[in-house]
Amino acid sequence: MSDEFIIKATVETPEVLFDPKKGILKLAGKSMPENSLGFYGALISQLDAYKQKPQATTYVTIAVDYFNSGSIKQIFKLLCIMEELVEMGKEVYIEWHYKKGDELMLSKGLEFSNFLDISIELKEV
């Protein structure tokens, strides 16, 4: 199993931490790169590889504040991979963080929860 996949946060991209050995994925910070596919592509490839031999339980935390629509689509894609893990009989816990009063981030979490057959815990921070 591959090692941790880490990307440090910048003014336009979030911090990414993916530890396949522990089954942990975290995204935190701003996400508004001009080329969202370029930024998230490598992570999604890692998750596709992880899907072949996942841990019994995967823990996902999404704590993004400002974002663009391109990022939203890529985050949705990685949650689709989590949905596939559930379909494979694995456990997945997803925490979707939003700041108090941030209706937009809350609504995105609710939408994704409705669109996917997967449980997302919305957590006000």
């Binding site: 508004m32 400002y66 629509s69 939203i72 209706e103």
Partner: protein
Amino acid sequence: MDVTENYNLYLKFDEDLFLLVYMGEFNDNLTPIITGINSSTKFGEINSKKRLTYLITECFQNIVRHSAKKHNSDLISDVPEMFVFKAKENIQQVISTNAIREDYVTILRSKLESIHNLSAQELKNLYIEVIKNGQRTERGGAGLGLIDMARKSGMAPAYYFDHLGNGFSNFFFQVNIPDKNSTEVFPDHVISLDSAIELYKKMSGQRLLILQKGDFNQDLILQTISLFATNLNLKTEQVGRASKMIYILIEMLQNISRHAYVLRGLKEGMFYITELSDLHYRICTCNYISISKTEDVKSAIDKINMLDKIGLAKLYKHKLMENTGDEQIGAGIGLVEMRRNSIGQINYDIRNIDNEYNFLALQVDV
């Protein structure tokens, strides 16, 4: 401002390769963002950037420190301050506008007149003299700021006092900074304050917050978002409204960056935000767009504008799940999200310019 008025507004700034007009909150926290915007522009000689950063900082902080609004906001609440930075061919300009007490006008005018016709050497001598003697005014400055700005810009500053009544005047101050190697004699309409005064009168009536024109590269977009976000944070703690406005602003600015037609070697565009009422804003972007792309944009907006809330949600879900293969240039959900998160429709105006490109203005209320 109606969406159809944007083309004429855009033409007014035709000579401006870069333009920032800021009429929001004035606070020291914003100074690094304003200077960051200068660093992100492609204009001006590289060795002039430092000089320009100094002049931008001085002018911006003059408003923060000396605006009479700070202590008299109840008397002049409807008199906004304005900061402008613009780059034209071979010259850049920094403009500040703020109210001052009427009794300070005479003192300030005489200070400005005293440096108006001085040569570079005379300005240097005066600068040294003031440093030595420390001619401090009751406002804490030694007059050094004005002298140093005149020295560093290379041209005498332009100024104008507009009587407001109620014991106040609006002070317009413009520093002209020609490129160091330029020998150009600039025409009056370029270096006079007339266009700044006209701009102020038009934009204060529109309750302008920010207007920016130029090449919208990603660095500049990030600085602009930061300026708007910091401004909102200074004004409100309502995270919900702020995040929605910022989301739409990011989409609209990145649309310019992705889709603007390249003219003069630039992906040039303009955007502005006006305040409609407390925490309700109008965001508008304008750019040229190739004729081949125009019909797709127009039909996408027309389709989105016809949908109700449920139809928009369905389209959004469909676009999220769709693999278009061209996601590096956008997810295809930007326009849907603009409509979903704004009040009313996406207004637009398309004008044909020639057989290669059109002018496109997009406008939403949030």
